[in-house]
């Protein structure tokens, strides 16, 4: 038996902190040992939030390294994957009237980025509790500097901590997509407020109360501006 695991010893299933569905196994949706960092800019959409109906996942490409800080500056690597894209299924593309290579915006409760749509059958919709849930897949190698630039997937993520290694949940979140280019400047704030209202409920995490009843929280998880 592995010793020292904070959420062991046996594997089980909990939903991610943001999920389109509730947990079918337990009354508790998410891993009770998980740390979440609650503050106004780091809000989580509740399970099944109709504003964010799609599953968002991030992944890496062989051509880039980590967030691209090195590979975006090397021409031989950068030219092989030169622009931020979002992979979606043909079904989702048809639903939103998106063509391959069109610009789309990916929106979560934390932010919005622009990406080119890469429509592929490799991305398959999920069948969850008899419901079809579409997926949006983003590489996370782009940023504002280098030979190639693009939206940073990190802008969309929540800040949370897996119990053992304190890495944020970047592989399963919920999002929405909006066809078209992302507005810049003051129009961006308006856009973001429209699709992800920046004035949210005081409960920043769906399971905040039941989970940490009577506790002040641990570690640096609760040093957020709005946490009291």
């Amino acid at each position: 038996m592995p010793k020292g695991l904070k959420d062991g010893p046996f594997p089980t299933h909990y939903e991610p902190l943001e999920s389109p569905v509730s947990n079918e196994l337990y009354s508790h949706d998410t891993n009770p040992a998980e740390q979440w960092f609650a503050r106004q800019e780091n809000r989580f959409a509740p399970p099944g939030d109709p504003r964010f109906p799609y599953v968002l996942t991030t992944y890496r490409l062989t051509e880039h390294h980590t967030a691209g800080g090195m590979s975006r500056f090397l021409s031989h690597l950068a030219k092989l994957q030169p622009e931020m894209f979002a992979e979606i299924s043909p079904e989702l593309a048809t639903q939103h009237k998106i063509n391959n290579a069109d610009y789309i915006c990916v929106v979560t409760l934390r932010g919005a980025i622009e990406a080119r749509a890469l429509v592929s059958r490799r991305i398959r919709p999920l069948a969850l509790n008899g419901k079809t849930v579409h997926q949006v897949a983003l590489p996370y190698h782009y940023g504002t500097a280098g030979l190639v630039r693009g939206g940073a997937a990190n802008d969309l993520l929540t800040i949370s901590g897996e119990p053992n290694v304190t890495i944020m949940e970047a592989k399963a979140l919920t999002c929405n997509i909006v066809p078209g280019r992302l507005p810049r400047g003051p129009a961006f704030a308006e856009f973001l407020n429209k699709y992800a209202p920046q004035t949210g409920p005081t409960i920043l995490h769906p399971e905040e109360r039941s989970f940490r009843k009577g506790q002040s929280g641990g570690g640096h998880a609760h040093e957020g501006k709005t946490w009291m």
């Binding site: 062989t62 031989h76 950068a78 030219k79 994957q81 894209f85 919709p125």
Partner: protein, 289 residues
């Protein structure tokens, strides 16, 4: 075969150049993982300049095709077909029940180094030569940039480098890493290929290996596995041949490549006949004056 690891000829030092042994590439897409290490290694070793940053929206392929500044190109093919004994998903939205096959195939394309090379035959300056190991080499210091080779290549491999890139105007293509081979080293792309999808070695060894591999794949359910090695065409075989799943057209490979020089005889005959005809017509015109 698979599992041979570093025991294959990809990693060994060799003496092929001194021994005048014909060498080649055998490329097998069934083990290719689409990492593009061959593209990067080729550009690194040969100091090929970058030729722009364009996202193509064609699967993970942002190179497009071979050219003056792309000597290795990994092709990404998404097809609604079954791959080998792959378990076919039945979950399909919209199309209802039934099987819904899908496969993603990668193939690293390269100059074929033809036995009868169109570029070499068209080159008026002698810049394109046949090397000791059977490969076709463009000597850039001799090339005058006329571009005859570009239209003579049956595979569309060779191209002239546009401004403002270094050495613009001249024709470029894969050199089979002739400089590395002089030192007994395998070409850069084969050396870095992590799955040995690209195998470098003696041409006769590779042909035997390729035949064996096709056999092996067919036994494992890859009914559409075949070898692309156009020996029966006017190209008379290549020094870079490919195992492909399905038809060559899907990979941008001509099913029957032709060296343009096979049309020389008929073209000259036609030109000669026309000249004679024109002469007779002129004489007739004067005869009836």
């Amino acid at each position: 075969m698979i599992g041979e690891g570093t025991q294959s000829t990809n990693q060994r030092r060799h003496n092929y150049l001194q021994e005048n042994v014909e060498v080649g590439f055998f490329t097998d897409p069934t083990v290719c993982i689409g990492c593009k290490a061959c593209e990067v290694a080729c550009k690194e070793w040969n100091e090929v300049p970058d030729d722009g940053f364009t996202w193509l929206g064609n699967s993970y392929d942002n190179t497009g095709h071979l050219g003056a500044s792309t000597w290795r190109h990994v092709l990404f093919l998404e097809q609604d077909r079954q791959k080998g004994s792959q378990i076919v998903s039945s979950h399909s939205l919209g199309s209802g029940d039934g099987e819904d096959p899908f496969r993603w195939v990668f193939l690293s394309d390269v100059c074929k180094h033809c036995e009868e090379a169109g570029c070499l035959e068209a080159c008026p300056t002698g810049a394109i030569v046949r090397t000791e190991v059977g490969s076709v080499l463009v000597q850039n210091d001799v090339c005058n940039g006329c571009g005859y080779c570009v239209v003579s290549c049956p595979f569309g491999v060779i191209d002239r480098r546009p401004q403002p890139l270094p050495d613009a105007g001249g024709a470029f293509k894969c050199t089979f890493c002739y400089d590395r081979q002089k030192s007994g080293l395998p070409p850069a792309c084969a050396k870095v290929c992590p799955t040995e999808s690209i195998v470098f070695g003696r041409l006769d060894d590779l042909r035997a290996r390729a035949t064996q591999r096709v056999q092996q794949l067919r036994e494992h359910g890859y009914a559409d596995a075949q070898l692309y090695d156009p020996i029966d065409t006017s190209v008379r075989g290549t020094h870079a041949f490919f195992l492909i799943l399905g038809e060559p057209e899907a990979y941008g490979l001509p099913p029957k490549p032709q060296v343009p020089t096979i049309h020389l005889k008929s073209a000259w005959t036609a030109a000669f006949a026309t000249a004679i005809g024109a002469l007779i017509a002129t004489l007739c015109a004067f005869a009836f004056l």
